[in-house]
Symmetry: C2
């Protein structure tokens, strides 16, 4: 049934090579034989971690997000380094951003954030058996680490105080998988 949905690559024009993202514009052949242009933001992929403390609270980070001009409350996350294994990236980002080592780490999903214009995939992990170590964020990264009860997070999602897609997905996936 799907042959009549697929678009076929025709050509690519590279428009920008950046720090976090690249941009290209592709021409594709549509199922009806016409051509159309498709903008693609290339992203290296990322991980996000739902860290569960022994008392049941979740570690989260408050971080200013320049593209939306606001501080957001999110689960810890970060981009994959070149060639980096997602599991190792998850442990690294969790430690850098929250100062905790995870004794237990399970990948529960890999989600596309905005498949209409970017290839970004975020691998979502649940982390447990947390042990405190040292916070060590990137030099251009400023974070506040906080801990919240699951009921409080559920309330903040419905009130709109939590409005980050990966955080909402990660929180509900935690509820579903335990």
């Amino acid at each position: 049934m799907d042959e009549n949905l697929t678009e076929t690559f025709v050509s690519a024009e590279r428009l920008y090579e950046g720090k976090m993202i690249n941009l290209r514009r592709d021409m594709v052949l549509l199922p009806n034989g016409n051509q159309a242009s498709r903008e693609v933001v290339e992203h290296p992929g990322a991980v996000a971690v739902v860290p569960v403390l022994p008392d049941g609270r979740l570690l989260m980070v408050r971080q200013f997000r320049h593209p939306v001009g606001r501080i957001l409350l999110e689960i810890p996350a970060g981009k994959l380094a070149s060639g980096e294994n997602p599991d190792e990236c998850a442990l690294r980002e969790l430690e850098e951003e929250t100062g905790h080592l995870a004794g237990k780490l399970v990948r529960v999903a890999s989600i596309f954030t905005a498949p209409g214009f970017t290839d970004e995939v975020i691998h979502i992990y649940l982390a447990g058996d947390l042990k405190k170590t040292t916070v060590n964020p990137d030099e251009d990264e400023f974070l506040a680490v906080v801990a919240h009860e699951p009921q409080e997070i559920a309330r903040m999602i419905l009130s709109g105080d939590i409005c980050d897609a990966k955080t909402i997905a990660g929180f509900y996936l935690l509820q579903e998988t335990r």
Copy 2:
């Protein structure tokens, strides 16, 4: 507590004006006084709709997504037209993509898909009292409309067969709010 997180805008360089997105690179002043560059993909914003049929199944669409090179199973969604009210956009996209009018429409969340590099916000709606009309997709849009039981969708999220962030958020928000 948040003053030490905020980044301040310094200057912008416009890099690309496109069909669906624009790209700019901003310089910002970090909390520590240093400057850093931030890439921003400008997006007009979008809506996504969780349409609930009288029998409890949800309407979804299968659509080839060129940036990820795959057909994805998603809830109906679409970009805001210039100056368009999100409620009207939700009704329009639902009708265009699935051929259904909604007698009931409730906004349950507005989420940032990837706030690290884009301002895209998706307003998520639940829709009910559906009435069949005519499918009328955009000329470069090829969709297959399907209906799935909630239990089946829950299973497909955990198995990875559903991997679109807005769809996962929308489905769980439906479970939470009814």
